[in-house]
């Protein structure tokens, strides 16, 4: 696997009122990983993201990006390479036209104007919203705003993209659009971290899952391993993915041989049933 891109050691963070939001966090993020970050509301996922991007300064612990320990001076390097797509697009979109909005990040990187324009064009084409270029964000729908907020980060060409509950408030069609974008980014080898409450999505998409509970990482491993552990599920208040439940039920009723080969998609499940 080689060296991790992002190495987080013994991270502590407390908000103003003193209660620790993050407590002794250790995590290594490797290139090209598809990581799901799960845990109940207030478990510390968003705080973790803001720390990983350098918006919040940890009280203790260190973050190293590609071997360099992050301090005040090279903070910008961290922010440049780790992009966050925020949960509420309205809290992220700042400019008055889509073009200016997507160009905001690259402009802050002090790139030459031609390069910024090229990146904006590229990102808008990527998200299939080139036609919206001159529109103001306040006349866009929720799904369209979400696309703009993703294009924001794509234009920055960051190595790791963090999605904070990307499907929150999206309709099924837009959720599907989002998954297609995630697949496309994944096929290009982008490293992604996604926080979500959708266990079925975690099960089908992620290669690795990190479980947060009360400011701590209580599990880190493949989704299959995590969803098989009753203890973790109980501690983090998680449900099991429907496909796993169905598989276990079929095994229990002796309709299926127990090979522990849990299918990850309905397609795989179909094939499994077809082979019988």
């Amino acid at each position: 696997m080689g060296e991790p891109i992002l190495k987080i050691r013994d991270l502590h963070y407390a908000y103003g009122n003193g209660t620790p939001a993050l407590n002794r966090i250790d995590a290594d993020i490797y290139e090209g990983e598809k990581i799901a970050v799960i845990g109940s509301n207030g478990a510390g996922k968003s705080t973790f993201f803001l720390n990983a991007n350098g918006v919040l300064t940890p009280d203790r612990g260190e973050i190293s990006y590609r071997g360099t320990i992050i301090n005040k001076k090279n903070l910008k390097e961290l922010r440049k390479n780790i992009g966050i797509v925020f949960q509420d697009a309205d809290n992220q979109i700042i400019a008055s036209t889509v073009m200016a909005e997507v160009g905001f990040g690259p402009m802050n990187l002090k790139l030459p104007k031609e390069e910024v324009l090229r990146r904006v064009e590229e990102a808008l084409t990527y998200m299939n919203i080139l036609d919206y270029k001159d529109r103001p964000p306040h006349y866009l729908s929720g799904g369209e705003k979400k696309r703009v907020s993703i294009a924001d980060i794509i234009a920055m060409k960051s190595e790791i993209i963090i999605f904070d509950e990307p499907t929150a408030g999206l309709d099924p069609l837009n959720t599907q659009m989002l998954e297609e974008v995630l697949d496309k980014l994944g096929s290009e080898g982008k490293t992604m971290l996604i926080s979500t409450h959708d266990v079925d999505f975690v099960y089908r998409w992620a290669e690795r899952a990190i479980v947060f509970s009360q400011g701590k990482i209580i599990a880190d491993g493949t989704p299959l391993k995590i969803f098989q552990s009753e203890e973790i599920l109980k501690k983090a208040n998680l449900k099991r993915p429907t496909l796993m439940e169905v598989y276990d039920l079929l095994v229990e009723k002796h309709l299926l041989e127990d090979t522990k080969a849990y299918p990850t998609s309905t397609q795989a499940f179909k094939e499994m049933l077809g082979n019988m």
Binding site: L50, K80, F86, G103, F104, M107, N108, P136, H138, S141
Partner: protein, 288 residues
């Protein structure tokens, strides 16, 4: 309260056959968000003209119609600016007139006091006895009043030409170029973006209060209004925090810089503007 009035106004505007909505399908206008002037500016056909050109033309016209102080010039300005907004910009006449009529009550109140006067004696060219006093006026005074109204309308139509064809962000960028202090232009940019978010939040809170009988009588309405106002303040603080985080996450380091598209101004446009301005001067010269 004014946001609500605004909302109601363009609700009407849209149900009663609003031309712009049929012609410009590119931008969908969602109800309850922002003002119609802002919407028309984005939909205008002359939006792709150079904003600095539009702003300076409108300012120059404004200054000329006030300084030259000539009814013919005023008329020419009203016609020319109407032409730019309606024919070139593609705004419907009804929409244009309804926007021009917004300040009409102020103008009437302001000019009538110049046209008429009160007296206890029956003096003046024309007078009207109203019990204890007389209202009197003269042809000359009416003429002054009428010319003043023309001048005001000319000035307004020059400003409307600008605001109905240039989105606020572009006007702000023009201000930036003429070195208006950064503090103001950055604030204007943020406030402009923010207004729409707060209007949205306000509408949501009002609706939720309304669904719980928060406006059932006058006393409750005032109480609810106060609650919403204070809640809006708290929400805006929270939003400001979230906003700042999101800006920092994208490498914001104290300077708000936005990408702008270069809109070229053509020689033909400048030539036409020059002809128009000289025409106004000549008109003034001949009718002085």
């Amino acid at each position: 309260m004014s946001t609500i009035a605004l909302k109601g106004e363009h609700w009407d505007g849209h149900t009663h056959g609003d031309g712009i909505n049929h012609r410009h399908h590119k931008i969908r206008h969602k109800h309850g968000e922002g003002s119609s002037i802002d919407f028309y500016a984005y939909a205008s056909n002359i939006r792709d003209w150079n904003p600095a050109f539009k702003v300076s033309l409108s300012m120059l016209t404004l200054v000329l119609s006030i300084v030259l102080n000539n009814p013919y010039v005023s008329l020419a300005v009203i016609v020319a600016m109407g032409y730019l907004t309606i024919i070139e910009g593609g705004l419907s006449i009804q929409a244009y007139l309804s926007i021009l009529m917004i300040p009409i009550s102020f103008i009437l109140l302001g000019t009538i006091t110049i046209g008429i006067d009160f007296s206890t004696q029956p003096i003046g060219q024309y007078n009207l006895h109203l019990g204890f006093f007389y209202v009197f006026t003269s042809l000359a005074k009416l003429k002054i009043m009428f010319f003043l109204m023309l001048k005001v309308f000319a000035a307004i139509s020059a400003m409307e030409m600008m605001s109905l064809s240039t989105p606020s962000s572009e006007i702000i960028s023009v201000m930036q170029r003429v070195h208006v202090p950064k503090l103001f232009t950055e604030l204007m940019n943020l406030i402009y973006r923010y207004i729409f978010i707060l209007i949205d939040v306000n509408i949501k809170m009002r609706n939720s209060a309304n669904s719980r009988l928060g406006f059932c009588d006058i006393k409750t309405s005032w109480y609810t209004f106060g609650k919403i106002a204070s809640n809006l303040l708290i929400v805006s603080f929270k939003k400001a925090n979230a906003y700042y985080d999101a800006m920092e996450a994208r490498c914001y380091d104290g300077d708000l810089i936005f990408l702008e598209e270069d809109k070229k101004v053509t020689t033909l446009q400048i030539a036409k503007a020059a002809v128009f301005v000289s025409f106004l001067m000549l008109l003034w010269g001949f009718t002085r």
